[in-house]
């Protein structure tokens, strides 16, 4: 036993130091990360489950629900986590069978967390989600807007039957709103462009060259406070500031009064500290100031980024350890896969989309059936029973091969997952007049081109649908004799 131990120890020691560090880095890079000790105990299924449930809840809940969902009871969080994991395809059923009060199951939760981490770059995604947007961001594609957030409860419920004129009116209202939106957007672009132009040369970062609205606003009104800030820079966070900022000394009363609360507690803020930005405010007022909050958020993000880098460097150790954790689990009996207690309701929109897609395909299939039937009949009539000999059959085979290849290429076009080359998501706008090739940066011209082709596709789709409707209605109208239908002029 002793000999075996000696053999094992050096390797374990090399890993022993690295693992806690890596776990600590992981914990720092995640929002609301629990302490490394919790991870270690979770391997042995020690009861630290609530912290892990809450962590998973934080990771899996949609971002927009942050404020409201923070106050959800543990049971509700447990339920949501289970359903979210299930809808992402989590393979293990043990999770679904864990008690709802969230008291047990820390090992399973650790496995679930690792599963999420293995599937995608989770810390980076979370950091990008919470990123402090200093610039004027514009999304280069519309996927954020197009994926509407699930079934929303309409505040205007139609009670009972409605006249079709109501529908027409709503459509008209919609068109009008879009027009207003486009007009406002044009104005905003002009203003943005002006601001960028006027603040040229101000930014310390050479790549950027000019200030953004958020940065300019911060200079104009560093206190900002509750009046809100522009450009999405931020809702104020809780003011519980980390210990590192507190100098630990009682500030001496100075003759200077705080410019906000008029107390006499303005002390010299340590040089290099974030509070230094607000020397004429007392500590508590300085902390509430908008510019300071912005800085604090930036600093927090930087800490998270550093932690994520450290995690990336050392994560191999973590995965080796997770294999042991998985080994420590009792094997799941296949018979246990009977009735999972909780399953998510796949968003109704998903089913609806499926229905629409099926309908389209069926319509297409019918058209194809008709067309091929005709062509086949015509062909048979032409060629008939005339067997054309060996030349003919070899030519036929060649044609068949060629067509198969074409069709395979066609299939590949949609089956292949679109490569990551297509950029999407918000990007910071920078005005840059020189024509030098951007290299690593996106050019507006490219994005415009991509958008134009998308526009053309959508327009074609719309026209096709409208054409279909026209045919259908013409057919129905044909049933009414004695009427002349004058279509509106196509403009």
């Amino acid at each position: 036993m002793g000999r075996r131990r000696r053999l094992v120890d050096p390797a374990a020691e090399a890993g022993a130091g690295a693992l806690p560090k890596v776990i600590a880095a992981l914990s720092r890079s995640l929002p609301a990360g629990p302490s490394p000790e919790i991870f270690r105990r979770a391997k042995f299924d020690r009861p630290e489950a609530p912290a892990l449930w809450q962590l998973l809840f934080r990771l899996l809940s949609p971002r927009s629900a942050d404020g409201a969902s923070a106050s959800l009871a543990l049971e509700a969080q447990v339920c949501l986590v289970k359903s979210a994991l299930r809808s992402q395809g989590y393979p293990r059923l043990v999770l679904a069978q864990l008690p709802e009060d969230g008291s047990r199951g820390s090992r399973e939760l650790l496995l679930a967390l690792s599963w999420l981490l293995a599937r995608g770059p989770l810390p980076e995604q979370l950091l990008a989600q919470a990123h402090v947007q200093l610039g004027d961001e514009i999304p280069v594609c519309e996927c954020e807007a197009l994926a509407s957030p699930g079934p929303r409860v309409p505040h205007v419920e139609a009670e009972g039957p409605v006249d079709i004129r109501c529908v027409q009116w709503l459509m008209g209202r919609l068109r009008f709103r879009w027009r207003c939106l486009i007009a406002s957007q044009q104005e905003q672009c002009t203003l943005l462009s002006k601001i960028h132009l006027y603040t040229r040369g101000c930014h310390s970062d050479q790549r950027l060259g000019h200030l953004s609205v958020a940065e300019t606003e911060m200079l104009r009104d560093p206190e900002g406070g509750q009046q809100g800030c522009g450009g999405g820079v931020g809702q104020s966070l809780d003011l519980a500031y980390p210990k590192s900022l507190h100098s630990g000394q009682v500030p001496e009363a100075s003759g200077m009064m705080c410019g906000w609360c008029a107390c006499g507690w303005v002390s010299a803020h340590p040089p290099g500290s974030l509070l230094e930005m607000q020397p004429s405010l007392c500590t508590s007022c300085a902390l509430g100031c908008f510019a300071f909050q912005l800085l604090r958020r930036l600093e927090r993000e930087n800490t998270g980024l550093e932690a994520a880098l450290e995690w990336r460097r050392g994560e191999l150790v973590f995965w080796r350890w997770m294999d042991t954790v998985l080994g420590a689990c009792p094997p799941e009996a296949p018979a246990a896969a009977t009735q999972p207690t909780f399953l998510p309701r796949i968003a109704e929109r998903g089913l609806g989309r499926l229905e629409l897609a099926a309908r389209e395909l069926r319509a297409l299939q019918e058209e194809l059936c008709e067309a091929t039937g005709r062509r086949r009949a015509a062909w048979e009539a032409r060629v008939g029973g005339q067997g054309r000999g060996p030349q003919w059959s070899s030519a036929r085979q060649a044609l068949q091969k060629a067509v198969e290849q074409e069709l395979a290429a066609l299939r590949w076009a949609w089956e292949q997952d679109r490569g990551p080359a297509r950029p999407h998501g918000p990007h910071r706008l920078v005005r840059c007049e020189d024509e030098a090739p951007g290299g690593q940066h996106l050019r507006a011209a490219e994005v415009i081109q991509a958008l134009r082709s998308q526009e053309a596709c959508l327009e074609a789709a719309l026209r096709r649908l409208q054409g279909q409707c026209r045919q259908e209605l013409a057919r129905l109208a044909g049933a009414l004799p004695g009427l002349i239908w004058i279509l509106p002029p196509r403009c």
């Binding site: 009104d221 230094e276 191999l316 066609l410 239908w485």
Partner: protein, 432 residues
């Protein structure tokens, strides 16, 4: 009149579209407000010191050597008077506690100081030259403020002076901003110092040092993180992760991988794209006029192939439907399922990216923004068209005989986007 359930669905759908539009409009208006405010003349409370820097250059002749103490003393004195002024204002507030009107003026006065101090900090960093010239100001300021200073306890002065010096000594000299603030705070009606507009003096702004450091570190870290990612796919870490996922799968005892809602949506999206591609090809084939028998045969084969593929896609859709439908729906106290990732593909989703978007002119930016909105609008229109078709066409066809008004309205909605109407005439053979 439309039947009740149909009405409810249609109204809900349209109302959802209207709400989405309204939300965008709201955000846009907020941004517009901020941008407009930035381009106007900046209010004195937030005015920056660039004007303080420029002003002293014109007032150098005011420098009267007789009353000018040394530069260090001047600074101390200036800070002292500033503190005294605040004390006086605070007194005013406490003595007129009931008068609401005073409170705003105190606030604006105080605001004048702090933003002045902070915001001017950035522009002082390069502006050392300005500090000498601005010392002319203290003479004026001091004379003005000695009167209110009388009431202030004398013993606090020395400590205040020292304290103030220690506090600000670390940074660049800043007597200038304080001076200007005295002007603003003392004279109840601001004497309207030179106003600051972004147009004229925008290029003089500078971000605070602490902020600059944090921002540059931020961009550096993001660059490191994004460049570190692609390397992952080729080394031991990726292998370890794949192994772990496989083990999780086998340990779970399930036969095959579970379909996640996200994957289902992605596949449905792919099949929809397949449908449009197939249709495109079909159109091409049908419109091409075959010249000889080879082409005709090829056309025929292609069409048959397309038909087979369409059948396969449909079959796959039916499989997906069955898989979805068989999962029992369980009640969950908090209803909303987690949001499925958007259809744009790519694992990361619509998250912020450190890559910049460069534009070269206002025109270009406007085109970009307008196109984006147009794509969103078109996508919404296509979706609404499909929904309307699904709801209204069955209605019209089920009516025997179809009501004219309904036909006309449906035609306008479905075929003209609600923009134009057709005319129906009675063809009465009696007149002629």
């Amino acid at each position: 009149m439309l039947p009740a359930d149909c009405s409810r669905r249609l109204v809900a759908e349209l109302q959802g579209a209207l709400d989405a539009c309204a939300e965008r409009q709201l955000q846009l208006e907020q941004s517009l407000r901020v941008s407009r405010r930035l381009l106007r003349t900046w209010e004195p409370a937030g005015t920056l010191a660039p004007e303080a820097r420029l002003e002293p250059e014109t007032k150098e002749e005011d420098h009267s050597p007789a009353c000018t103490p040394g530069p260090q003393d001047l600074k101390e004195l200036e800070l002292l008077t500033q503190a005294l002024k605040k004390a006086v204002l605070a007194r005013k507030v406490t003595s007129k506690a009931g008068e609401r009107a005073k409170a705003p003026s105190l606030k604006s006065g105080s605001f004048a100081t702090s933003p002045g101090m902070t915001a001017s900090t950035p522009s002082w960093a390069p502006g050392q030259a300005g500090s000498c010239a601005s010392e002319a100001k203290p003479t004026r300021g001091i004379r003005q403020t000695t009167v209110p200073a009388k009431g202030h306890p004398e013993r606090r002065l020395p400590s205040a002076g020292n304290r103030a010096r220690v506090g600000v000594g670390a940074r660049a000299t800043r007597p200038g901003p304080g001076l200007r603030d005295q002007h603003v705070a003392l004279s109840a009606a601001p004497e309207a110092p030179e106003s600051f507009t972004l147009k004229e003096k925008g290029s003089l702004l500078q971000l605070p040092t602490a902020f600059r450091k944090a921002a540059s570190q931020n961009s550096r870290l993001w660059a490191q993180l994004t460049s570190a990612q692609p390397r992952d796919s080729t080394n031991a870490t990726a292998a370890a992760k794949t192994y772990f996922l496989q083990q999780m799968q086998t340990a779970s005892g399930r036969p095959g991988p579970v379909l996640s809602a996200a994957e289902v949506e992605a596949e449905v999206g792919r099949l929809q794209e397949a449908c449009s591609l197939l249709r495109l090809h079909m159109k091409e084939e049908l419109s091409a006029a075959p010249t000889d028998w080879t082409q005709e045969y090829r056309c025929l084969l292609t069409l048959e192939g397309l038909q087979a593929i369409a059948g396969q896609c449909l079959h796959r859709l039916q499989e997906l439907h069955a898989a979805l439908a068989e999962q029992p729906v369980a009640p969950c106290p908090v209803g909303r399922p987690s949001r499925a990732p958007p259809p744009c593909g790519g694992g990361a989703g619509p998250f912020w990216s450190p890559q910049l978007l460069l534009y070269s002119s206002t025109q270009e930016l406007q085109t970009l923004a307008a196109l984006r909105l147009r794509v969103a609008m078109l996508d919404q229109q296509v979706h609404l068209e499909k929904v309307l078709m699904a709801e209204l066409l069955p209605l019209v066809s089920s009516q025997e005989p179809p009501s004219l008004a309904l036909c006309r309205a449906v035609h306008s909605l479905l075929c003209e986007g609600g923009e134009r109407f057709l005319t129906v005439l009675h063809d009465d053979p009696a007149d002629s």
